[in-house]
Amino acid sequence: MKSKLLSLSLGCALMSGSLFGGQALAEDTIKVGVLHSLSGTMAISETTLKDTMLMLIDEQNKKGGLLGKKLEAVVVDPASNWPLFAEKARELIEKDKVSSVFGCWTSVSRKSVLPVFEELNSLLFYPVQYEGEESSRNVFYTGAAPNQQAIPAVDYLMNDIGVKRWVLAGTDYVYPRTTNKILEAYLKAKGVATEDIMINYTPFGHSDWQSIVSDIKKFGSAGKKTAVVSTINGDANVPFYKELGNQGITADKIPVVAFSVGEEELSGVDTEPLVGHLAAWNYFMSVDAAVNDDFIESWQKFIKNENRVTNDPMEAHYIGFNMWVKAVEKAGTTDPTAVQDAIIGVTVPNLTGGYSAMMPNHHITKPVLIGEIQNDGQFEVVWKTSGMVVGDAWSDYLEGSKDLISDWRTPLSCGNYNVKTGKCSGQQ
């Protein structure tokens, strides 16, 4: 039935194409919104994701499009301005009538567009690791939840490196604060004493790291193995690592494990003093897999630059886009409600050689990798989880969130169902 429908619509599309020429075809496209900042502070990270989406859409069109129609990217620039994200999202959905949107980077931009997507019932694919504590019917979280990045990284440091003292350093906004809250609760549950945890927050774009690095050095000289868990975001990382190098803190003394530093961020840095510091992601460019080699090759060809790197959020878009395509094919329509039902359970290949599945809580399954920075700006995988980890929207280590689950399948269809009280509060 499904394939018949598909061939029928394909035939229709072909016929209309041959009858009315290119113009009719152009009108009959499936529009995909791309909501990434192309100017302002976040342009540094988000521009790459816009290009990734253009490449994925382009490739899909070369394969014959979707449901017999061509895909058309609608790119807007929310300019790193959080309220503007909401306006641009509304514009994409109401004016351009896009069938889904791929976008956002910072959590605050996601929080800003969330009510728009829920009100207008459209779909958002969010490709960046985030702090969890959220699950919306209209959002698909293809980046890592804390249990797919932060918790395994801490486990690695604790069990494999023997770290006893912890510095939780982050930029002062919602993602680091929530992640550190989860990590602090987790560490304490593992028996780490309060005086062995140091927490520090810095503003966006902080560049004077002298006293903080000096504090870390003092904290780390107490004779116990110390590590820094860094949720420092964006380009503040460059002066941070520089200062670490200058003050002689090398990775074998105090390793830094970062959740926001990937290949893209390292491409503007002299990596010599960083060698050995760690990052936890679900994908590294250096991963040895045929599908990854193909992706890198087509990316460098698309962007016309052999030195461009790939990174984790790009993989998330790759997975998210393919899941959406598969779900649309399964549903036979781009109608958001139909796609929401169809996408749960959809499984597509990821770039590390395995398969990722969309779970009922709108998070996906991913492997967790820990890599050490090498002097060529790439990561060498030193540890990975044995299997796929299911993203958990509600952390098991926070009061008030550990009893919540999210399941968007009928009959439950709830983002924050409390298993103790048996009630669904709010998100449904």
Binding site: T41, P203, Q210, G223, D235, N246, Q247, E372
Partner: protein
Amino acid sequence: MCLSPKSTRCYRILLILTLLSFLPFAALCHAEGSEVQFQEGINLLTQKDFTKKEAAIEKIAESGDKRAEAVLRALLEGTLFRVKKDNSIVYGSKEGSKITITSILTGEELGSVKKRKAKKITINNALRTQIKNELAKIELSNPDAKVRLDAVNKLMPTLTIESSDLLANLLKKETNSEVSDALKASIAIIGLRSPEKEKRLLSLTELKGNLNPAVRNELNRLINEEQDKAVLHKAKSALSTIESKIAFFGLVEKGFFGLSLGSVLVLAAIGLAITFGVIGVINMAHGELIMLGAYTTYVIQQLLPDSIGLALFLSIPAAFLVSGLAGIVIERSVIRFLYGRPLETLLATFGISLILQQAVRSIFSPLNRSVSTPAWMSGSLQLNPILSLTTNRITILVFSLLVFAGLYMLLKKSSIGLQVRAVSQNRAMAKAMGVRAARVDALTFGLGSGIAGIAGVALSQLTNVGPNLGQAYIIDSFMVVVFGGVGNLWGTLLGGLSLGVANKFLEPWAGAVLAKILILVFIILFIQKRPQGLFPQKGRAAG
């Protein structure tokens, strides 16, 4: 190897090898087995498993082979490769798409292979620590005293009771006083674990005032475990001496951090002090002129990729010219039409700042550019085990003082400086005396902008070179100028340095975010009390 026992250096090596054999972490030195063991170790390196590599490093280090040091060092630096064809381990150096390989065993060149045909032997942090410790043991016999000192310090946290005799023997042979002191401290640390009370007391006397972190940790351990009251008392007093010293050096360090942050503020603000002070223009594009200077550094480094240090020096005049010319163009094309209308100038220059940012985004891409730091500007100056000052900060502190002095001399001693001061104090009177005020305005604006460019060169060494560089500093610059007193260079210097120091003293107590807020609140209150800033401008025009 050592045929003549009279040679002192040979004697030392022999001695150390024997000594090392007693250390728990070094095995016996088999004269015959060494070659086999070395070879076994090298063969183990072909394995991908990190635990196998760990065994390999141990074997290589224990073999006592004279090639061991070079192999371990190459492994640490990532210049050891496995040739895929015959699974052999070689030294390699990358040149373009090829790798030139050299034999480990014989040291002869083996030609080159394609990049994909050889794979780098990767290591992780645990292995890195292991190699560094093994190397430190070998380095104990290094002829260079500084290397020996580093080696002793590196091994200090891993000492055990068994190492005490050999350290004493090493000490007998040691000629350098610093290394002797470090060895004595190491012996004393072991002495603290001695069951004899006298020995523990003696060790405490020796360690009094020693700032090495290993000493402090050992004392803390002792205080927790000690039963004897006399020893306990002495240990506590030794620890408190050390801690008061640490507190003192912590204060020194904080002061330095403050001065260094202040010097950056002064550099960024001093150009603004000139344009704002003399012409009274609120130049919102000042930050972008700093950014232009930083990008100039980047471009010159791209042109001279092999001599980063020279490129940095050349960048100073180049950035001055680029930003200065940009400043003059801005003044001639926009600002001069808006004199006396501060609000419009503010908006116009804000517009210019956006234009410049977007221009840089279009030309250089929105991504940050990487500006390299020359070797002499990285690392730090180790004054004692707990106080080290980073070289890049020292350089920039000195540099900003030089820029200040130069600018000060220019304004005080040259004729253009005289004219600038005349116009700033009383424009009408200066005009009447034949000073071409319009020309002076343009030159002053160019000078202030040029200084901003120089600040950009310095900032490129500290922070990211990207389109947003300027925005990060514009607020701070205005803060310094307003606080210091408009149009007064001394005010800018003192204002910048004191804000820097205040910030650094507040930061550990309030956190980086709150410290900034507190400083801002303080300035607002200060301006209420003294609207003219620290050093108000004298003269009739300054009303």
